[in-house]
């Protein structure tokens, strides 16, 4: 079982990202679960979403407390949310971040070697491609670079079913660029 926790803010599409990844994995033939942790539904408030992936049918129904990877859609969350909480030893942190590695480690409050840390300038790429600072799909690309959980082919099917037409094309371009731009730091 591989468990992902998504950190975003209300309206940024963390739940959609969790669902798109789950749909792509389902198309790959594995078992999935994805769901949000609903709080008061306010735009801008920190929110969580989760994706579980397994070769066996998934029996448990509860939140994810010890994820294998956390994905941070919005770097401003690092100042207020402990995104590392419960993360498995050696687990991955994938952050939308445009800066140097030292700065990122400081913001995360972790030391080198504790976890695997990946960075991608997702906001910059989203503004360039979508003309909007929406980073949820970009961060799926970044996650796939860190962990090949789903094939790009099936992710494309899932994304294009969710966003038909030009919107789907643009999101796939963003996912591919984010995938290429993601670096372990």
């Amino acid at each position: 079982m591989f468990e992902v926790r998504w950190h975003g803010r209300g309206g940024q599409g963390a739940w959609t990202a969790a669902n798109l990844l789950a749909t792509a994995v389902m198309l790959d033939g594995r078992h999935v679960q994805s769901f949000p942790a609903f709080g008061p539904e306010r735009a801008g408030a920190p929110v969580l979403a989760f994706t579980r992936i397994s070769d066996e049918p998934i029996e448990i129904h509860c939140m994810v407390y010890e994820p294998d990877a956390v994905v941070v859609l919005d770097p401003t969350l690092l100042a207020t949310v402990n995104v590392v909480e419960g993360l498995k030893k050696g687990g991955s942190i994938i952050v939308n971040f445009d800066g140097d590695a030292e700065e990122l480690y400081k913001a995360l409050g972790v030391s080198k070697g504790e976890y695997r840390v990946f960075a991608v300038p997702a906001t910059k790429l989203a503004l360039e491609i979508l003309k909007r600072p929406i980073t949820n799909t970009a961060m799926i690309g970044a996650l796939l670079k860190a962990h090949p959980l789903a094939s790009m082919e099936n992710l494309e099917k899932a994304v294009k079913a969710r966003f038909p037409g030009k919107m789907g094309e643009a999101n796939m371009e963003l996912i591919r660029r984010a995938y290429e731009s993601t670096k372990e730091v």
């Binding site: 969790a18 669902n19 789950a22 749909t23 389902m26 594995r30 078992h31 999935v32 679960q33 994805s34 769901f35 949000p36 609903f38 066996e56 049918p57 998934i58 029996e59 448990i60 129904h61 509860c62 939140m63 407390y65």
Partner: protein, 426 residues
């Protein structure tokens, strides 16, 4: 492994092999909406505002896109929604609605009318807490409010079962031996908003399973018409439904209703078997879904989505050498007394999990299980755990704590307290 659809691979080949079924990633609400779509529902009446579910939102898309023949009636309250499906079902339609928490509470008055008029309505209940304080999350308080209303109540464990059970519900409700409404309960958010990979049937296979559109099976001789007519509202052959019936006959008229609800249990079992032949999926014997109970010293009973988490922990404990079992109660009303008794009779301790509380008493299913045990000569010790009110999450660590408590009860040979609040801060 005793988990419904995971047995597909090992069992016999179903009539519709998996490669001919449709694999999709949907949440529990969408699964129910697709099931209603596949079930040739004639009328959906629903209150379209909070606390409505995505079920009718999704279904209204099918209506808008012309994918169903259904008459969709958006009404001004849940009281009206249930009233409208009562009218539709009395006219011979296959009728469906959905609600949650306060919405179900507002339906309450009409719930008794639906069942007492013997109308085979299907209602999806997305289980959510009741106010006050305001809370949108999962518990079973709403469903327990309709416990005594003569409805068949089924609780599902996952998104796949939500789809399967919604279709089965129409078959159970419309069975001539039953003719009672059926409520399909799925845990709010934990299932309603959780995307899982499931198999659906090709639509025409569901049509065949249900025998096409609903058929009115009851006939009655009407003296003022001088002929036998179908029991339904029909302007050409006018009938009255539910007229005044005082102490001279009301009581007698309850007897067939009592009998029909009893018979529903066997029909639920039969439909579970038919579904297995067709799809390769079944849920225990249809009324209970037992895991590891045969030689268990400690058994936990549970309804709904928490069952999987409990089984997950039970498997760990088995690996550690502790003999534990899990009994999921799928059919809550009519309560399967004999089946539960057979499943738990060998245990030394039984923990009963309830995601609701009868304030001033115990959790509702504790009372049923205590009644089950009373007739036994040798009874296991019984502890009631009320858990997860208002959506409090139930992680494996909390379930483990409960099992550890039960192990302690077994060691001591007595329960210190019969009612415990699991996971509440002190």
């Amino acid at each position: 492994m005793r988990w419904g659809w995971s047995r597909v691979s090992g069992g016999k080949v179903p009539k519709i092999p998996l490669e001919k079924q449709v694999r999709m990633a949907v949440n529990g609400d969408e699964a129910v909406a697709y099931a209603a779509k596949h079930s040739l529902v004639d009328v959906v009446a629903a209150y379209p505002i909070t606390p409505q579910t995505i079920i009718v939102e999704k279904f209204s898309e099918f209506v808008a896109d012309g994918e169903v023949h259904t008459e969709f009636v958006p009404v001004e309250s849940e009281h009206s929604a249930m009233s409208a499906v009562v009218g539709a079902a009395a006219a011979g339609a296959r009728a469906f609605t959905a609600t949650a928490s306060q919405g179900l509470a507002l339906m309450w008055e009409i719930l008794y009318i639906a069942s007492s008029l013997r109308l085979p309505i299907v209602l999806a209940v997305v289980n959510r807490a009741l106010s006050a304080p305001i809370n949108i999350h999962c518990d079973h308080s709403d469903a327990m409010g309709m416990r005594d209303a003569s409805w068949v109540q089924l609780f599902v464990e996952n998104t796949q079962e939500a789809y399967d059970t919604t279709i089965q519900a129409f078959k159970i409700a419309e069975d001539p031996e039953v003719l009672l409404p059926v409520a399909v309960n799925l845990d709010g958010f934990v299932l309603s908003h959780t995307l899982e990979d499931i198999y659906m049937l090709p639509e025409e296979e569901v049509h065949k399973f249900l025998g096409g559109y609903r058929k009115v099976t009851g006939k009655t001789y009407v003296d003022y018409l001088g002929k036998e007519v179908e029991v339904k509202l029909d302007p050409a052959n006018p009938l009255s439904f539910g007229p005044l019936d005082l102490y001279d006959y009301y009581f007698e008229h309850k007897v067939p209703q009592i009998e029909a609800l009893k018979k529903a249990k066997e029909v639920v079992k039969r439909v579970n078997e038919e579904w297995y032949e067709l799809t390769g999926r079944k849920y225990g014997d249809g009324v209970i879904d037992a895991w590891g109970v045969e030689d268990a010293d400690i058994i936990v009973t549970v309804l709904g989505s928490t069952a999987g988490t409990v089984r997950h922990v039970a498997k760990q404990l088995r690996r550690e050498g502790v003999k534990v079992g899990v009994l999921r109660i799928r059919l809550y009303r009519p309560f399967p007394f004999e089946e539960v008794a057979n499943a738990i009779k060998g245990a030394k301790v039984v923990g009963v999990m309830d995601r609701a509380l009868s304030f001033g008493s115990f959790g509702p299913s504790y009372l049923d299980i205590a009644a089950t045990l009373y007739t036994m000569k040798e009874r296991p010790l019984l502890v009631n755990y009320v858990y997860g009110l208002g959506g409090r999450d139930v992680p494996p660590s909390l379930v483990r704590k409960m099992f550890e408590d039960l192990i302690e009860v077994e060691r001591k040979g007595e329960a210190d307290k019969p009612l415990k609040l699991l996971g509440v801060r002190e």
